[in-house]
Symmetry: D2
Subunit: 145 residues, 4 copies
């Protein structure tokens, strides 16, 4: 309740990093989301502000992201936004993370061949999935080109 | 402004129907969206209410849906909700349509291989895309098994 | 999970009807949501499609709606969309309901004086609030002028 | 298109600051959004992560926020999320701003008396409202107690 749910459409900005943790598989990548708006004066579509997010995919979603997404691909991501403030080495850091519930390739930009993974979906059977997820500590900020 | 944007995660419930219209390619299909909730008393996840929508995909998205989606596949859809009331043959019909902005396979359920389509994306260059889309008349209600 | 969450901005189209049920207070009203779009050709904002929803407010929200909302007022509503199909007297009915989580007056259209209600918020303490809400049967469809 | 729309429910964390700018009235305040989740093990609702946002309200919404909101009040806010990175005095700052489209008091927490403001709504008539809004430079980061 009162979670900040977002749906964003953008491009995978870094190669997804995959790890097997005690809590299960986790993949993460940076996502670039550029607003497009219609400029009525010049009669053209133009780029607006770009938001960058760190997207976290867990369990089955993490494994499938690892086998499906590569840098530059257009995606739609739905998840819970977490804005975090931290002191690290005397520096103040804020990050905008999305704990993803679903990710898919953006079919307005291309075609996709889907293959269902039949193993049990932990998100549907694990009681822990009903609880607040814990964001893994991120070892170091990732540069985005 | 004041549009009813929705993001829904569900399954393709009918084979997408594709047509080339004067306004461009259009694909449409029925989508079944079943809520899942955690039953704290019985300690299990259970099915809740199922919403059915008619999803419309236009221009490049329509063509790519035609080449990518088959019945039963899990998808995420973002678009504009249109609830419509109609008299047809003395009967009162209400339908819940989604004019899709983006559609993607749900990677929490499987993997996908993406191929970018390089032709110009009409949604980004066509001034008409800034205007209110017109829903095509739907010739007959589709039964959903 | 997989619920169809919507946020809509529109006008209260019928006087809210309030009932005390065994499960607690419930208020309901019809909401009219008219999309506005910028017509780049004529250089004006214009009305698009209007969606009508039946909004249900329960527990503390129901009581406060009863004491706060009147027909014609502009509001923002966040909740779970339920599209329902029914046979009733040989007729087929579809309705689009929103089970509201939050409702507020739209401050882009006017000012509001708020008074906090201090009694326990059932939504925060009632374990039942974690379960799937049951939509009360709607005795008869309401005409909207 | 591709904007990051969010709807958040939280509490006004700083007294709104109001300014008349050449582009029109602007109000801004900090918003605290605390997720609530149901702890199935302990059978209670508990607090999760808190997100802080800087909310910007412009034109008629800005004026009405100034006349309606005070610190501590519960609100629902719908708007466009902007995550910004900046160098300032050799320090790296990230902020999460919401350019608000609508704000309302949260009627699940109390009652509200609404008064419509009849003057022309600039958001509906100003062609500039169709263009990308420009975030005013924020003179200094605000501490949130």
């Amino acid at each position: 309740m009162n979670e900040t749910l977002v749906t964003v459409v953008g491009n995978v900005a870094t190669t997804p990093v995959f790890r097997e943790l005690p809590s299960g598989p986790v993949a993460r990548f940076r996502l670039a989301v550029t607003a497009r708006y219609y400029d009525a004066v010049q009669n053209v579509w133009a780029d607006g502000h770009t938001n960058f997010f760190t997207v976290w995919a867990r369990r089955a979603l993490g494994s499938n992201v690892q086998g499906s997404l590569t840098i530059g691909e257009p995606v739609i991501v739905q998840g819970k936004l977490k804005v975090r403030d931290e002191e690290r080495g005397g520096q103040h850091w804020t990050s905008a993370d999305i704990d993803a519930m679903t990710i898919g390739h953006d079919l307005s930009r291309g075609t996709a061949a889907f293959r269902r993974v039949l193993k049990a979906n932990a998100a549907l059977t694990d009681p822990a999935a009903a609880r607040e997820p814990v964001l893994e500590p991120e070892p170091e900020p990732e540069p985005v080109g």
